[in-house]
């Protein structure tokens, strides 16, 4: 889906637990998420820290969307 959006000229980014799969299928902007059962969070963190982690993921994804990239590029965030 990310690739198709990109092809249609819409800059986009994918938050995923498995960046290697995203890279190998050619996704341009990849954000390493929490885990397979929870890509956009991490319930093992205390609630406040998880909220911060989620915020960082989304902000990193927005930053990625605004960045020019050449081929699959992985953006990482630190766990809050």
């Amino acid at each position: 889906m990310q690739k198709e959006a990109e092809r249609a000229g819409i800059p986009s980014a994918l938050i995923t637990a498995i960046p290697s799969v995203a890279s190998s299928v050619g996704v341009s902007r990849i954000i390493t998420g929490g885990g397979i059962p929870y890509p956009v969070g991490d319930p093992t963190l205390p609630a406040e820290r998880e909220k911060e982690f989620r915020r960082r993921l989304v902000e990193k994804a927005l930053e990625a969307v605004c960045s020019d990239v050449d081929g699959p590029t992985v953006f990482n965030v630190s766990i809050a």
């Binding site: 299928v25 885990g35 397979i36």
Partner: protein, 436 residues
């Protein structure tokens, strides 16, 4: 470690008045064995057990297959066959073991689907003894003793899982006691104690099991391996059944206990040990780690063991679907980057003609050679059959809540996922490569 395996091949399997093996005919007292298994079932989770016999060539479909175990007994040496199950978790793999090579004890039951996640629920697994789907399962060629079980209502998943597995293992032990004192038809010795020619290439094997919770677990020495740190196993420990399966999720991707004790890569590498190569051992691991971090960690630790074993080359295989491919490919990548040649074998996708969509869920540029064990996206029509064993219906659709459907009719399945062991992930199977 040095292990002698004594093999017994049966010519027939029948119900009769005694438990005996004479002239290759294995006779089982049905009532006695059923009663024994019910009596031994802790907490009475099994409502009924009916034993059934299914033979190669029978016009029969086996359904609801959960795990399949081998009848084996430790004759000399530490531990038991399938150590840690109803026995102490002592290190097996040395001394002598007697086994019936062509008998499969199959646990069959409908386990509950209610409240299960989208992926990890006990799907219906099919073995066809004849017809086009028969070659998908190695158990279309074995004498099969079916434990057809009905479970009581409202027990927990953990209890169902334990009861089903223990019944299968108890049944296998009960029968294997017969062959303890008998002289095997054939013996084979696997000697890993004697030094081998240092010039031989050193080969390791990484086997990644599935372990994601009850109904998708694998047991090592009697305990599931959610928190496992990749570990070293002597090949003979695997042959003695130190790995037991409790994985019921995707039929085609399962590696039953019967195969875990007869892993093609382990057997083939062990048979060539000291002659064609130096088989330096097995690295046992689990895939489906939850995050990229955990996948990298497992892959790093597994690769580190391969390196410590001094391997020049490594074979890698994994149980389960696409998620687990990533753990294996990361392991391959690290090994290759350290100069250790790594070759995986795996099922592929590719649609009915092999050219549609993706072939593998994940791969890395370092995977230069990949052995295909066949596509799982081949539509297959299974014919009507005279008899159904293991149960009397099929549950194939989660969206209907697993509404029972007739099991004996002809039907076309778009993919092969319902065929027990059909993705050949252990390397067992009947496929051959054909250039075109």
């Amino acid at each position: 470690m040095k292990l002698e395996r004594g093999y017994f091949e049966i010519k027939d399997l029948v119900f009769g008045n005694s438990l005996s093996l004479r002239n290759g005919i294995l006779e089982i007292n049905k009532d006695e064995l059923e009663e024994y298994l019910l009596t031994e079932d802790e907490n009475d989770n099994i409502e009924t057990i009916a034993l059934e016999i299914v033979k190669p060539g029978d016009n029969t479909r086996i359904v609801h297959v959960l795990d399949t175990v081998m009848a084996g007994v430790k004759v000399e040496g530490e531990g038991e066959f399938m150590p840690g199950h109803g026995s102490a978790p002592l290190i097996a793999g040395s001394g002598k073991t007697h086994l019936i090579t062509n008998l499969a004890i199959m646990e069959c039951a409908e386990l509950p689907w209610a409240g299960k996640s989208a992926l990890l629920y006990p799907r219906d697994a099919i073995v066809d003894m004849t017809g086009p789907a028969a070659p998908y399962s190695p158990f279309s060629e074995t004498f099969n003793l079916i434990l057809r079980m009905e479970m009581v209502q409202d027990s927990s998943d953990v209890e169902y899982d334990n009861s089903v597995r223990n019944a299968g293992i108890r049944c296998a032990r009960y029968i294997a006691e017969l062959i303890r004192e008998l002289t095997p038809d054939e013996t084979e010795v696997f000697d890993f104690d004697t030094e081998v020619d240092p010039a031989l290439p050193k080969i390791a094997y990484v086997t990644q099991c599935q372990n994601q919770g009850v109904y998708s677990n694998t047991f090592l020495y009697g305990h599931e391996v959610w928190n496992i740190v990749p570990t070293y196993l002597n090949p003979t420990e695997m042959m003695d059944g130190c790995v037991v399966s409790g994985n019921y999720v995707w039929p085609c991707f399962k590696v039953p206990s019967w195969i875990q004790a007869n892993m093609p890569a382990v057997m083939e590498l062990a048979r060539g040990h000291g002659k064609q190569w130096n088989f330096v051992g097995v690295v046992f691991d689990r895939g489906h780690n939850d995050s990229h971090f955990l996948k990298q960690r497992a892959a790093s630790l597994a690769s580190n063991l391969v390196r410590r074993l001094g391997a020049d080359g490594v074979l890698i295989s994994w149980e389960g679907g696409g998620n687990a491919a990533t753990d294996a490919m990361l392991t391959l990548q690290i090994c290759e980057n350290w100069g250790i040649k790594a070759v995986p074998y795996t099922f592929e996708f590719g649609g009915p003609d092999g050219r549609e969509g993706i072939l593998l869920v994940d791969d890395v540029p370092e995977a230069k050679y990949v052995v295909s064990t066949g596509s799982i996206e081949k539509p297959t029509t299974i014919p009507a059959v005279e008899r159904v064993a293991g149960g009397d219906c099929l549950r194939l659709r989660k969206e209907t809540g697993g509404e029972p459907e007739p099991a004996d009719i002809e039907r076309t399945l778009d993919v092969i996922t319902a065929f027990y062991c059909g993705a050949n992930q252990s390397g067992i199977g009947k496929l051959a490569g054909v250039p075109y």
